[in-house]
Amino acid sequence: MNCVARVTMAALAASLWLGTDGSLAASAENGKKVYMAVGCWGCHGTVGQGGVTGPKLAPDPMPYETFSAFVRTTNRAMPPYHELVLSNNDLADIYAYLQTVPKPADYKTIPLLNQ
């Protein structure tokens, strides 16, 4: 199964994710669109892999409460996202998308990382 197919399957599964408020059915599919539209990809990469401009977000994103609080209030290098710019629903969808990012292979099994 290729990477795209794995992400799609995982996205479908994640679309059933129940938000922390017990009522929010987050959409990973929409989350991916919002992730691109509001600029998360710019510093964290399109699959949340991170780089010098921003830390890794996925796989295994931090707990939603921590994630949400950071996005809303950060005074560090990342600019905070106000609810008028990024709604709570869309933020939950982004989190759902990050949950769908598959775990990478152990680098020890990737020949190019063992040259």
Binding site: G39, G42, G45, L113
Partner: protein, 654 residues
């Protein structure tokens, strides 16, 4: 300036005959041909180009009405003798009328050797090539710039060289004598004091008014440029002086070039620095442009091992082997009690963090170091600070400050440290080395694990691209000739960089348009040693001066260019997003992925086709990481055969 009145004879230079005759013809019947054509019969076919008028010819050629006939050589032949005495290898330049006298002498009288004229499509390319060449070869090149316009084109590249402490000999043609110069274009291209354009970011400049003056100025310029701190210099070359015949019996001489010894740190300051370092619990060495020469790397290793002190290489030169157990990331300074910074471009920014957030947009600053940490600085930049351009950065108070060349000061500092280390501290110092070895190994594990994330992503991750390129070049004597900062610095973190040509740093002034041209210049220097040059090329920078590829093809310069094509001015993507968030507004995207004005999309640029159009093998765009290896292998084979090649890769943003 110093140009004699000339007669009307026109047979001195054969190549001028056609122009002169054409001009004369047009002068007799101005625009007659045009008028006839315009009023011709319906069957008459318009020529593809109308014949130029006398005024147009004069404007475009900048040709004086006539040249004197003489059997004596012109001044520009002597100028070539002067230039040859300085052992300058190449002359990357765009041709121009203001230095046609010297141009002709260089390729005919000088046989186009030492220096060899390299044709470039933009003065910025010429100077940036000289910049890259120096970083590999350690020898400056000369670049010719055409009057006001050429020097303005070159100015960004000169500023980069200034900020990066690289010597470039810029020689600009300029027609000084307003009563003699041709009207029209040559006058637009002349200035009273043309070097004023770049005086803020050159170390020295002059406008010679005689041939003997030129000889002294060229040797003086070379000497000043090559005395640390290195920097570009500019000579304004009068058009008339080039074409003035040597006077009968005139005795001219060429001063001998004798290198000036670099400035060394004061002996007392060196001793005090050594005392602080030898008695420190956690000393850290931070270096930026400390290794001026390959020997600088050896000296830094000796000092670091003597102290078993971690070394943070900020990477504007290849200062310290990245494979060494004492090579560490900047975070190590947090626990330092003594920090020595050598040739740092920004000491304040080294020991302080600035966070672009809060405080109404002014940012937040935080110290990265403990209170009471002793700071030592050795930098030749302290000997060359100007006022207007602010490349000197924020002011940082340090405890021991040496206005001196770090590499030249290192031997004395090493001896002083040896003498200052108490015997009782030697065991503790050895222990520091063990801790650093462990931390270094752990950092490598973290890096490799991080590289695996997004390994199969499309667009292709910069980590994947880094390792795919490495797989193709690891068995070669390789040189990374462009900056890797836009690729999360993965090569610097992972590739075993140990030699001075493994990593050449950045532009200096961080103005776009440097990377590709400097890479071509560096590849030219590597060619003499049979090295394989690889350039990781950001797309935004590429589009400033893509013609550098043509120069690589035209002059058979082997260079592998791998496009880091993230389809945007990515730093600005983040800046506009940041400001939108701060102002609680959704960033408008228009039809692109990034905020309006920051993307290079719609249409996407086909860099492979651009390369092909300039005679460079172009491959791509590659979007699937599985297609990378065969594409890179094909390109590597081309470069091994002695030609340039480009692989366009669609990449993640950083």
């Amino acid at each position: 300036m110093a140009r004699k009145d000339v007669g009307l004879k026109v047979d001195r230079r054969k190549f001028l005959t056609g122009v002169a005759v054409a001009g004369a013809a047009s002068a007799v019947t101005p625009q007659a041909g045009n008028a006839t054509t315009a009023a011709g019969t319906a069957a008459a076919r318009l020529p593809s180009a109308l014949p130029p008028t006398a005024h147009t010819i004069a404007a475009e050629t900048g040709t004086p009405r006539a040249l004197a006939q003489t059997n004596r050589p012109d001044g520009s032949d002597f100028m070539v003798d002067v230039i040859k005495s300085l052992d300058i290898d190449y002359l990357p330049s765009n041709p121009a009328s203001s230095f046609r006298g010297l141009h002709e002498s260089l390729i005919n009288y000088g046989k186009n050797k030492k220096p060899e004229f390299l044709t470039v499509n933009h003065e910025e390319i010429g100077v940036a090539m000289a910049h890259g060449y120096f970083k590999v070869a350690g020898k400056p090149l000369m670049s010719l710039c055409h009057g006001t316009v050429g020097l303005q084109h070159a100015s960004m590249a000169i500023y980069n060289a200034w900020c990066d402490r690289v010597p470039v000999i810029v020689v600009g043609g300029n027609d000084l004598d307003a009563s003699k110069r041709p009207p029209g274009t040559p006058t637009y291209h002349s200035a009273q004091d043309v070097n004023a354009l770049v005086r803020d970011f050159t170390k020295w400049d002059d406008t010679p008014v005689s041939l003997q003056h030129f000889a002294q100025s060229m040797v003086r310029a070379y000497k000043i440029a090559m005395t640390p701190p290195y920097a570009p210099v500019a000579i304004a070359l009068d058009t008339g002086l080039q074409q003035e015949p040597l006077r009968n019996g005139e005795k001219l001489s060429i001063p001998r070039y004798v290198p000036t010894s670099p400035p060394q740190g004061d002996a007392n300051a060196v001793r005090e620095a050594a005392r602080l370092l030898a008695n420190a619990e956690r000393p850290v060495i931070v270096v930026d442009r400390a290794a001026r020469t390959p020997n600088g790397i050896n000296l830094l290793v000796e000092l670091a091992e003597l102290l078993q002190a971690p070394v943070v290489d900020q990477g504007r030169r290849m200062n310290f082997p990245r494979t060494h157990h004492l090579s560490r990331a900047l975070g190590v300074i947090r626990q330092a009690d003594v920090i020595i910074g050598m040739e740092l471009s920004d000491f304040w920014g080294t020991v302080n963090a600035w966070i672009d957030n809060g405080d109404h947009g002014h940012g937040v600053q935080e110290s990265r170091i403990k209170e009471g940490t002793k700071l030592i600085s050795i930098t030749s930049a302290d000997l060359l600070t100007k006022s207007n351009y602010q490349d000197f950065q924020r002011f940082q108070v340090v405890d021991v400050q040496m206005a001196a060349d770090a590499e030249s000061t290192l031997p004395a500092l090493i001896e002083a440290v040896k003498a200052a280390i108490p015997a009782s501290r030697k065991a503790a110092i050895e222990k520091r080395g063990e801790a650093s070895r462990k931390a270094k190994a752990e950092a490598r594990e973290r890096n490799l694990a991080a590289m695996a994330v997004g390994w199969d992503a499309s667009p292709i991750s910069t980590a994947r691209l880094t390792m795919e390129v490495w797989a193709q070049i690891k068995g070669l004597d390789w040189s990374m000739v462009g900056s890797d900062r836009q690729m999360s610095s993965w090569p610097s973190r992972i590739w075993p960089m140990t030699k001075h040509y493994h990593h050449l740093g950045t532009s200096g002034g961080l103005g776009l348009g440097y990377n590709l041209s400097a890479a071509v210049g560096a590849a030219l220097a590597n060619k003499a040693h049979g090295r394989f040059s690889v350039n990781l090329q950001p797309d935004g920078d590429f589009m400033y001066a893509p013609g550098a590829l043509w120069t690589a093809a035209h002059h058979n310069i082997p260079l592998l260019t791998v496009m880091h094509n993230n389809r945007g001015y990515h730093q600005e993507v983040m800046h506009v997003q940041r400001l939108s968030n701060r102002r609680i507004r959704v960033a408008a995207l228009g039809k692109t992925t990034g905020p309006i004005g920051t993307s290079i999309e719609a249409p996407d640029i086909d860099y492979a086709k651009m390369a092909s159009s300039m005679g460079v093998v172009g491959i791509g765009p590659i979007k699937d990481p599985k297609e990378l290896a065969p594409a890179l292998k094909r390109a590597v084979d081309v470069v091994k055969s002695g030609q340039p090649a480009l692989v366009d890769v669609w990449t993640q943003p950083r």
